[in-house]
């Protein structure tokens, strides 16, 4: 995985997006020109493409453990999430439950339904970013048509025990559709959608070293979800629009790459994060670690620094070629939604930063990064508003 100036920066924002792996980039460039045929055409060049799309589909379904359903390609996580919310909303007036920390592509469509007469409920989260199970259970009744709880929090990396949520839901509302947004979870933890018991599961390629513009929605057989995009009937009538064979090929290549290195990367990232957090708190003892280490994917570390603004720290680190995220928590339209969620005091509430790693990161850079973070935090804390 290289870019022209990859040596020049340290990329710690892999929860936002990832660099494409060589395998995915190569698959894409090899398919881009020659595979221009319309997969719906009847000549053999086209039917051959359709065959390859289906074998790529099998790769992704296998990685999901999706024996009980099918995988439909789409444009990415936002489309997958929108499809489920609008396609499984049920009758007007039915109850829809979403988690408090859901991504905007769940939250915004759900609020749209709320404005149109649906009983949309938001299940509160714990201060570590996971959904509070007890409070979730209180929202269940037989009128629930749809539940959407993200598998892994994009804010903190915290894992929700989706199987438990599914069982609780189906006991009370057997016909409800249970969807989980798996964009941050896919290939970041051992996964089987069959074991989770979900009816639908959203994934996207660009979070796993694949290209932007391609994703997939897993739908369990028998789950009633209407298509969002109608037209020529591609993807078994579930998602119309001419398939992008090159992007699908590249997606499958990225899945293979992540699968092959899964075990090694998982333990590498676990160690890396341990070391990172330890160094960071050594340099800056006032730092609050938000991510729950005993229940999270290993590549996200969300922390809150004292007396700094996250975005200012981000730009300061940027000048040292260290690229980090504030996560979506700092987007202005989110403020009311996220500000209080992590249970931070006034001195820490503005200073939230998300470090997210990939296997490309090297433990040798940790000292440098933490030293720069400490330098900037200390310098910026002096300019806190008087």
């Amino acid at each position: 995985m290289t870019t022209d100036d990859s040596a020049k920066f340290i990329y710690l924002d892999n929860a936002a997006t990832t660099m494409m792996c060589d395998e995915a980039a190569q698959a894409l460039s090899e398919a881009l020109s020659p595979e221009f045929f319309n997969p719906s055409a009847r000549y053999k060049q086209a039917t051959g493409m359709l065959e390859r799309i289906n074998s790529d589909r099998a790769v992704i379904r296998a990685a999901l453990g999706g024996t009980f359903g099918e995988v439909y390609f789409n444009s990415g996580g936002t489309e997958g999430n929108n499809t489920v919310i609008f396609g499984a909303k049920g009758r007007k007036g039915s109850r829809i439950i979403i988690g408090e920390g859901e991504h905007d592509s769940i939250y915004a469509p759900a609020m749209e339904l709320k404005n149109n007469g649906y009983d949309v409920c938001v299940a509160p989260i714990n201060t570590d970013g996971s959904v509070n199970f007890d409070k979730f259970k209180q929202l269940l009744n037989e009128n629930v048509s749809l539940v959407s709880i993200m598998h892994v929090s994009n804010e903190t990396g915290a894992i929700n025990d989706i199987a438990k949520f599914v069982r609780a839901t189906k006991r009370v509302a057997p016909n409800a559709i249970f969807h989980s947004d798996g964009v941050q979870a896919f290939l970041k933890l051992p996964l089987s959608v069959a074991a989770l018991g979900v009816d639908a599961y959203t994934v996207t390629a660009h979070k796993i070293h694949g290209p932007k513009g391609i994703g997939a929605l897993y739908v369990k057989r028998g789950a009633k979800i209407k298509p969002l995009i109608l037209g020529g009937g591609q993807e078994s009538n579930f998602r119309s629009g001419t398939e992008s064979a090159p992007l699908i090929r590249s997606f499958a290549a990225a899945v293979r790459y992540c699968n092959e290195n899964f075990e090694a990367n998982y333990s590498k990232l676990t160690q890396y994060r341990e070391y990172f957090a330890q160094k960071l708190t050594q340099y800056l003892p006032d730092t609050v670690i938000i991510t729950p280490f005993d229940n999270s994917i290993p590549n996200i570390l969300r922390v809150a620094f004292k007396n700094v603004r996250g975005e200012v720290l981000l730009h300061s680190l940027e000048e040292d070629n260290i690229l980090v995220g504030t996560g979506s928590a700092c987007a202005s339209h989110h403020e009311s939604r996220f500000k209080q969620m992590f249970g931070l005091d006034d001195e820490h509430i503005e200073g939230v930063i998300r470090f997210s790693f990939s296997a490309e990161n090297d433990q040798n850079e940790v000292d440098h990064v933490c030293e720069r973070v400490a330098y900037h935090v200390n310098a910026l804390a002096k300019t806190v508003r008087r």
């Binding site: 730009h315 300061s316 202005s332 508003r385």
Partner: protein, 397 residues
Amino acid sequence: MGKRVIIIRYGEIFLKGKNRSYFESLLIKNVKFALDKLLGEGGYAFKRSQARYSIEDYSELKEAEIVDRLTKIFGIHSLSVAMKVPSDAENNFEAIKQAMIPLAEELEEENTLLDPTFRVTVKRADKRIPIPSYEIAAELAGTVLRHTSFKVDLKRYDYDFEVDIRETGDAYVYSKVILGAGGLPVGCSSKGMLLLSGGIDSPVAAYMMAKRGMKLVAVHFASPPYTSELAKQKVVRLRNIVEDYTSRMKLFVVPFTEIQLAIHEHCPAEYMITIMRRFMMRIATKLAEQQDCKAIITGESLGQVASQTVESMTSTESCAGLPIFRPLIAFDKEETMDIAKKIGTYDTSIEPFEDCCTVFLPKNPAIKPRLERVMQAEQALDIDALVEKAMSGIEKY
């Protein structure tokens, strides 16, 4: 058959007597700047005759955009899209008649008036044609009568078909007039240094000054890492939008962080904004000298924020070596917003990025700062060195 051309009529320039050629040269320069940007050099032909210009030989697909750009250029009174045809007098003005048919049919389609009336106005500069104008007009009116339900009324007409028969043997035929931006051509009222923040007001201030013919240079103060690269890109985009009205407007970005940190460290918090604004004025004045600007322009409006009281403005003004023009001083926010929407800067202005004024914002700024106290507070700073350092880091866009 003829071709489509755009006729430009200019306005207030006529009033300026002997300066006319100077004003005209500015207007032509501004028209060419706008059209070169849109079409590339050679993407059109610029022609002048008597008191009019015309744009010819452009791609018809671009016509709507050309008209849009021209209506934003100050000094232009009105425009018309015309058909340029040979006058074809020996053939009973057949070419002109043919050109009038689609114009007439278009007006008939659009017409919602009961019993609509029209006239044909002929200007015959080509005196080789022996027929008087009114006779030509009567001849041409027959074409309109045959293709529409309009009736002739020379005095109280709803539609006017105008035909300019030029000495060149060409005739220009049109039926609609589009109002231009008015004002004076940018460049005829000297040059000003605009403080461009990225908010709603300053682009509107630029528009207002450009309307009265002032050429502008912009200065923006950036405070990385407290303000982001995106905030700077936003200012560049605002400049690009405003350039439709101001013609070329150079943008200088001044690194301001060090000055803000120094003030924050050494001066009382309540004077932060006043002292900061004083530094902006000092730097703007220096830059104005380099750029041959004769005034400083701000988007300040009386009482809008703490730094926009009479006392605050007085405290900052003493650092400027030039007159400060504040075209929005008596505008309500809504009035400014309306103009921002009209000129297309509003949506960009409201994109949420920090600007340098919101960094280190004290909880209780002085609303009526006293100049002598401000100056006393400033003594803790090495003003010249700070200004010099900031000046040396200026980037041009």
